[in-house]
């Protein structure tokens, strides 16, 4: 068994809409190893959530066309998987926590009901048997008085506590992969750090592979081993977090980093905007999608789209990257 | 319905669930009980009786549905032959009428019993009549007995508390012995034997009433009429009553003519919805329905169970004779003549109603031999008749000073009580008046009791009405329009008319009929009312039901009902 927990090759997602086809994700590839955290950063609308939902099989096939050369969760090939087969994998092999803890939990059900459900589904646990594990899981994520909380409802908790519940719930069945789609965006700054710490601690305990989706380079710097940068549905640069911050190869990454004053400054600042707008959904440019906003733009960039090019331990999709990477050196 | 009112905040409510559960349980239990209690086995005969009876006390009832019920559970001195309507022995096995027609002596049969086992004696009738006349009982039909010597004085002279000033011994009702009842009349009353068969003149078991009074000093009026307490002397007794559903009757085992009573049980259904009743009849759930919806009448023609028969009721318009121009008899006559009555009965009502040109309906002739005069002459040619009437109407209007070249008639308003047939009829009448007399007519419908109030206050021009005879005699119609009558409601007052009626009161035989004819002729000259047509019965009766005959009084005694020899119970 390889230690690749999540293997994605050439993932594309299209949404046929009334106003034409929206190519939300094109040719996205990444491999996530056990115990590793991969960050995905990008502006709003760059396709981060669609990528994660596609990997979870949560896109409604009536509205989304998902294609991939490889899409494997652990050893399971999940391409064209039936809904029934997916259900055995979701929650057990791959779990997800969501951006808004206020709405991600069902307000009509007790915490215990929502959590024990996972164990009942995936481990044939009885409701009684599930209870002690639920309480233990809650206490693992640092919730005080877990027994009382388990019997309570989400609206009785603060946002941070709810996100802890979300994490506890996602990790209950000990999945290989955890996808965290902006787990901290909706939270206070101090709480953000606590949650990231918690994720880190649990990852160390269980060896879970984490796909961490975020707007924030600070979060990436803090939590990720490797980072991919997405722009307009494509990964434009991918590297170890260290290398990415030390020497970004793609002008977009550069732009992102430039807007963060210093690595040792306030790491939680949101991405400052780069001049201009990404192409509107549904608009496909013949050349590089970033070209209109790029300060190093050349004629070629507007005619021809640069492929993701591999360098030592990293990759980037820019005609200028080779020069920058010092590959010639 | 502000369902969100009073809702706010936090906290869970598990109690809510239990409250709901509890309420559902209570509801469920209720429904179950209702279902259980409803269980009654099929009766031998079921009929749709119309409205829920207002009371089971025969002195308190006036309507037709009550009458049908009362004739099943009470029996008076006489009953009427179902076919000929001739008086037959009831509680009285025979009777004598004095030569001056003023004294009736009834001989009660022996062995007639009440449902409590008591024998029916003459005193029971005296008690019943006393109760009917007692002013404190406020019986609407008390006046039926005003023909008895001293009865009117007894019933209408009251003290401040409403009690009679005179003793009942001043009334001409005597019981020389337990089986003899003598009634002395003030004047000859040719219909008195019909009255003797009439439910308000039923006997009363005084002992049972006194017992109830002792047992329920404050509520005996209600308690004594509950099925389990009600004491009756007719062919059936009441065993169960559910308001607006049914009254279940079971045969009275000690009834004197028990062996000739065919049905062991009868269900008397109370439903005013005509199409529902018709549906019940068509599916065989009931064997007799007293009235059908006007809309289906044309489709019933030719059916064996459909035998509309004229009876003693007139559909007419009251005319407010106090309002100009209706205070002019010529105008009223013009209005009366210009209506095409044949169009009304052949195009709207369509149940064979006779067009009426008299106040007393023509159905009276077979019952009493009285032939009402008419307000116009009728020949073999109805079209020519109507053309002549219209010409006469136009002439009368001109004579009264209205029409082309003279004053224009003001707009006339017709009030009718809300019902589709009434509206259709008023529209035809309005069209005739517009077409032939150039009259501008306004139609106004009013709810029934409001319409009555409008009449009483003489706050109308023309107002629709129905009059149904209380007893088979022209007087039952003609007395309505005397000046003193509270039923007049037209403002009509004619000394000559009143004098003729007063004279007829004491007259007998042919002389009496002549006086009434003369009074009616006078009425048809002055026309405070415009008769339109006579009613027919609109009942449907299972052809296999024997002993039920359509008749001019629309009175039926259930004791004669039975299935045909070849008719099987459904």
């Amino acid at each position: 068994m390889s230690d690749i927990a999540l293997d994605v090759l050439d993932l594309s997602v299209q949404f046929p809409t009334d106003r034409g086809i929206v190519q939300a994700v094109s040719g996205v590839s990444f491999a996530l190893h056990a115990g590793e955290t991969l960050g995905i950063v990008g502006e709003s609308g760059s396709g981060k959530s669609v990528t994660s939902l596609a990997t979870m099989g949560l896109l409604d096939p009536r509205f989304a066309h998902v294609e991939a050369a490889v899409l494997k969760v652990g050893d399971h090939d999940v391409r064209n998987l039936s809904e029934r087969a997916w259900r055995a994998i979701r929650g057990r092999e791959i779990a997800m926590i969501f951006q808004d803890p206020m709405t991600a939990l069902n307000p009509f059900l007790t915490i215990e009901r929502q959590m024990s459900e996972v164990l009942e589904l995936h481990e044939n646990a009885t409701r009684k048997g599930a209870r002690s594990r639920v309480v233990a899981a809650l206490s693992d994520v640092g919730i005080a008085d877990p027994e009382a909380r388990a019997a309570g409802y989400p609206h009785e908790m603060s946002g941070g506590m709810r996100q802890r519940v979300g994490i506890a719930m996602a990790l209950l069945a000990k999945p290989r992969v955890l996808i965290a789609d902006e787990p901290t965006t909706a939270l206070d700054v101090t709480v953000q750090a606590q949650i990231l710490e918690l994720l880190h601690k649990l990852q160390a305990q269980h060896g879970t592979a984490i796909l961490l989706i975020t707007h924030s380079l600070g979060v990436v710097a803090e939590a990720c081993n490797r980072t991919s940068v997405m722009y307009a549905g494509r990964i434009v640069e991918s590297a170890t977090t260290e290398a990415l911050f030390a020497r970004p190869l793609h002008p977009y990454t550069r732009g992102l980093l430039a807007s963060v004053p210093r690595l040792d400054g306030n790491p939680y600042r949101r991405l400052a905007s780069i001049e201009g707008q990404p192409p509107a959904p549904g608009v496909v440019l013949p050349g590089c999608a970033f070209a209109p906003r790029c300060e190093w733009r050349r004629d070629r960039c507007e005619r021809e789209r640069p492929e993701l090019e591999r360098f030592v331990g990293r990759s980037s999709a820019c005609f200028e990257s080779r020069a920058l990477s010092g590959a010639g050196e | 319905m502000g369902a969100h009112n009073g809702l706010r905040g936090r906290g869970a409510g598990k109690q809510g669930f239990f409250v709901v559960l509890l309420l559902l349980a209570v509801l469920g239990y209720g429904a179950w009980r209702v279902g259980l209690e409803a269980g009654l086995d099929q009766a031998d005969f079921t009929f749709a009786n119309g409205a829920e009876p207002t009371s089971l006390d025969p002195t308190q009832t006036t309507g037709a549905p009550e009458g049908r019920l009362m004739r099943a559970i009470f029996e008076g001195l006489c009953v009427l032959d179902p076919k000929t309507l001739a008086p037959l022995p009831g509680m009285a096995e025979r009777w004598e009428i004095s030569a001056d027609e003023l004294t009736y002596t009834f001989h009660l049969r022996s062995g007639a019993r009440w449902t409590n086992g008591d024998e029916v004696v003459a005193a029971d009738f005296k008690a019943g009549f006393a109760r009917l006349l007692d002013p404190r009982e406020a019986a609407e039909y008390a006046y039926l007995l005003y023909c008895v010597r001293g009865a009117r004085e007894y019933a209408t002279n009251v003290d401040d508390s409403g009690a009679a000033l005179r003793g009942f011994d001043t009334v001409g009702i005597r019981t020389p012995d337990a089986r003899t009842l003598v009634v002395e009349l003030e004047r000859p009353v040719p219909w008195f034997l019909y009255l003797a068969a009439y439910p308000p003149l039923a006997p009363l078991n005084q002992r049972a009433l006194d017992e109830m009074r002792a047992q329920f000093p404050n509520t005996w009026r209600i308690e004594r009429l509950r099925p389990e307490n009600l004491v009756t002397n007719g062919p059936w007794r009441v065993v169960e009553r559910r308001v607006n559903d049914r009254i279940r009757l079971a045969r009275h085992d000690q009834y004197w003519d028990r062996d000739n009573v065919a049905f062991e049980t009868i269900d008397v259904l109370a439903s005013e919805h005509l199409s529902t009743n018709l549906n019940l009849y068509l599916t065989g759930a009931v064997g007799f329905v007293n009235e059908v919806p006007a809309g289906v009448v044309p489709r019933l023609a030719g059916r064996a169970d459909w035998n509309p028969t004229p009876y003693l009721a007139t559909y007419f318009y009251r005319v407010n004779v106090t309002r100009p121009p209706l205070d002019d008899a010529r105008v009223r006559r013009a209005l009366a003549l210009a209506i095409d009555r044949r169009a009304l009965t052949s195009k709207i009502t369509r149940a064979g109603e006779p067009p009426l040109y008299s106040w007393v309906p023509s159905a009276i002739t077979p019952v009493t031999g009285y032939v009402p005069p008419a307000l116009r002459t009728t020949t073999e040619d109805p079209v020519a008749d109507y053309a002549r009437d219209v010409a006469e109407a136009q002439r009368l209007l001109r004579e009264a000073g209205y029409g082309p070249g003279a004053r224009a008639l003001r707009r006339i308003e017709i009030h009718y009580n809300t019902q589709s047939t009434n509206r259709d009829i008023a529209e035809v009448v309005a069209r005739d008046w517009k077409l032939h007399l150039g009259l501008d007519v306004k139609l106004t419908n009013q709810e029934k009791k409001v319409a009555l109030d409008t009449q009483r206050r003489l706050d109308y021009d023309i107002s629709r009405s129905t009059w149904i005879a209380d007893y088979p005699d022209p007087a039952s119609f003609l007395e309505v329009l005397t000046q003193a009558s509270a039923n007049n409601r037209t403002g009509f007052a004619d000394a000559r008319y009143d004098a003729l009626l007063a004279e007829a009161l004491t007259a007998r035989g042919a002389e009496r009929k002549r006086l009434y004819a003369e009074a009616e002729a006078r009425l048809l000259e002055l026309l405070p009312i415009i008769p339109l047509f006579g009613f027919t019965t609109t009942s449907l009766v299972d052809p296999r039901l024997a002993g039920f005959h359509p008749n001019n009084l629309d009175i039926h005694f259930p004791k004669f009902w039975r299935w045909n020899a070849d008719g099987e119970r459904r």
Binding site: R87, G91, H155 | G30, V34, W220, L452
Partner: protein, 329 residues
Amino acid sequence: MIRFLLRRAGWFAVTLFCVVTLSFAMMRAVRGGPFDSERALSPAIEANLKARYHLDWPLWKQYAAYVGPLELGEQRAAWLGGDGTRVFGGVLAGDFGPSFRYRDTTVNDILAQSLPISLALGGVALAFALVLGLAAGLVSAQYPRSSLDTLVRTTATIGIAVPNFVIAGFLVILFAFLVPLFPVAGYGSWEHMVLPGCALGLPFAAYIARLTRAGMLDALSFDWIRTARAKGVPPRTILLRHALRAGIVPVVSYLGPATAGILTGSLVIERIFAIPGTGSHFVNSALNRDYTLAMGVTILYTTLVCGLNVLVDVLYTWLDPRVALEEEG
């Protein structure tokens, strides 16, 4: 809970007082009296009749006697019998008095006899409406835009548009005449309840189906539904456990009006099917100027509708743990 109920009881008392006073005034303001008929009464009889029911009193005294127990020092012919010192107990003592039209009975008797029947009919109709409406709505929401959904929605639109007496007519023709399965009208067995229950319940079933569909589709779009799917919860469990409670909140809000509607709808249905319920008295008593019966029915219906609204509010708290009955004074 207790506080809430007490408060509502207080409001109910105020409402009832207004209803009683207004309807008393309105009944008396209408022209025509209970004893008017084509045949005029003789003055002595009319006076006695009015005295028996105390219609000869000034209005304020009649009102006082109607509302509360009144010791009458006067010697009168009492309608019930007795010495006349007591007319009846008054509404406050739970005594609605004599019926002016059905002279052998009290309003209490009539209501006691007819109300269970109306409730049973209403219960059948409501149960029918709920079962059919919820089932159709759920199916419709589970398979939106399917042919089944279209069928449900078309039928519902027709069901809402067509008044119940027309439905009653159809049902009678179909199931009493063409296929004689049920009695055409009348009362006495459970079979007699089927057609009126359906006719009364169908329009409400149609409305409930619509509300359920809309509510469920709405509920299915909530974030926590995606969370549940990410846990691998199967669709039926999602529908019934995660979406149903939120989805039927509109239905519950509608229950109050629906029950009131079913109660008033039964006026017509009870007439058509000759069901001896309270509804048939509602209109008839007013036409007959049966003052006491009309008032009794009005008071009863007011009580029922108010009670139902409280019930609906209590139902909310059971459905949605975020909702609590208002506790503060």
